[in-house]
């Protein structure tokens, strides 16, 4: 039985759940702010699982105390890029960690074409496998 029937990209937290509502997103951002993490909004239209560096939508919001302001930014990003993947990340800057601790997708394109398995035959009968996203067949900006 497949847990992921459709072609929903399952990067980050909560990706196997249905899309988060605005209240749920606010609650998650509040959790990040309570822990003193810097929240940032990022977007991309390249859905490969190894694509970890997405474009940043503005600077990380270091000095904000309230999720309402960050939700404003998220909605702004949704209006600017309605058909891109948008995620919210939280960066933990305490010593020894210094890396993102939260990352969840808040917006997806309407049609996600999914991935295909590419087999490459190398010397002998050895095969190398890669995952190839059908979306990247088109040029950047024309994918969704």
């Amino acid at each position: 039985m497949m847990t992921n029937h459709g072609n929903r990209v399952t990067q980050g937290q909560f990706s196997f759940l249905p899309d988060l509502t605005d209240e749920q997103i606010t609650a998650q951002i509040k959790y990040a702010l309570n822990n003193g993490w810097a929240v940032n909004v990022e977007y991309t239209d390249d859905p490969h699982p190894r694509n970890t560096y997405w474009e940043m939508f503005g600077m990380p919001m270091f000095d904000l105390k309230d999720p309402a302001g960050i939700l404003m930014e998220v909605n702004n990003c949704r209006k600017t890029f309605p058909n891109h993947y948008i995620r919210v990340t939280a960066f933990n800057s305490s010593r020894g960690v210094e890396s993102p601790t939260m990352s969840f997708i808040v917006n997806r394109p309407k049609n996600e074409p999914g991935f295909g398995l590419t087999r490459q035959e190398v010397d002998g009968r050895s095969i190398r496998y890669t995952v190839h996203s059908y979306a990247t067949d088109k040029a950047e900006g024309e994918r969704y």
Partner: protein
């Protein structure tokens, strides 16, 4: 005396809710007492805050009957002369509203026109939005708000900033409280040319000038906070000083008092310094004597230090 529980109260139409118990549970008295002790005078302000606190209390009781109501508009406008406590009260307002449960975080962001208006086309909107984002969940205090709108200069971008603010003040009433401040006549002119702004402000509070007794009380409070006090004669001398100083020009209420106290401390230090042989007790170090006050130019020459460089 027992309280009715939520479920019981919401069921019966004639059930009673206990106002006094709710009042005790909500810590509102602590907030009001703190306000009374730390701010002298300011009767209209305290009255208005008391009214807002009463509204909150009644709101809580209504929730027990499951009667919901809209968050009231809390945007305010403080008008008054310099030194009457507008910025101080705005700083307290964030904390008070948080304790009363009307704002989520209660932090204060203070801005003037510079922080909201950009220098070139397209600069204003991001600047204003950044400030608003920072202030969400708390209080946005705009000092000298009338500078935002300059009708004489068509190329001024203040209007754009005002429009963004108006939109946020209306749509994000739960998230943000905006407090404008400035002199009364200039604010009146500002509101006349911006009726949209005036209709969004629910509370227009005027800060009256302090009386001489209130200023003396403020002076004593300021000294106590810095571990100083007046001697009996010193207090009399300061009361005299206040009466004379209030008649002179450029009197800024509490700010002038603070400046005068700083000068008195200076004279006290010099007086103690002049007699180096004497061993000083703690009482000597904290007491301001009459001489420290009477040495002011206000007594000897009938004018303030600031007018020194004229003529």
């Amino acid at each position: 005396m027992s309280n009715t529980t939520n479920s019981e109260a919401s069921a019966a139409e004639d059930a009673r809710v206990d106002l006094e118990a709710e009042f005790k549970a909500s810590n509102i008295q602590e907030v009001l007492d703190k306000l009374d002790n730390e701010l002298i005078g300011l009767k209209p302000v305290k009255t208005r805050i008391r009214e807002v606190a009463a509204l909150l209390l009644v709101d809580r009781l209504r929730k027990k009957f499951e009667l919901s109501s809209e968050t009231p508009t809390l945007h305010m406008c403080f008008t008054g002369n310099p030194g009457t406590g507008k910025t101080t009260v705005a700083m307290r307002m964030g904390e008070i509203l948080k304790r009363l449960g009307y704002v989520r975080e209660g932090h204060l962001v203070t801005v003037t026109r510079d922080d909201l208006v950009g220098q070139y086309i397209g600069h204003t909107a991001p600047k204003t939005k950044e400030v608003i984002k920072k202030a969400m969940g708390g209080v946005l205090f705009i000092d000298e708000a009338y500078y935002l709108y300059k009708p004489e200069n068509e190329r001024d971008y203040g209007q754009e900033s005002i429009e963004i603010l108006l939109q946020v003040m209306e749509n994000n009433r739960d998230d943000l409280v905006v407090i404008l401040a400035g002199y009364k006549d200039k604010m009146d002119r500002f509101f006349q040319s911006n009726p949209g702004m005036r209709s969004r402000i629910a509370h227009h509070i005027d800060f009256p000038d302090y009386s001489a007794e209130e200023l003396l009380q403020i002076a004593k409070l300021m000294l106590a906070q810095q571990n100083y006090r007046f001697s009996a004669e010193g207090e009399k001398a300061f009361a005299e000083y206040l009466k004379l100083r209030m008649k002179l020009s450029h009197f800024s209420n509490a700010r002038s008092v603070r400046n005068a106290l700083d000068r008195a401390r200076l004279r006290q230090a010099n007086r103690l310094f002049a007699d180096t042989k004497k061993k000083l007790s703690k009482s000597d170090l904290i007491t301001l004597e009459a001489d420290d006050v009477l040495a002011s130019r206000v007594f000897s020459e009938g004018r303030t230090d600031a007018e020194d460089t004229e003529d």
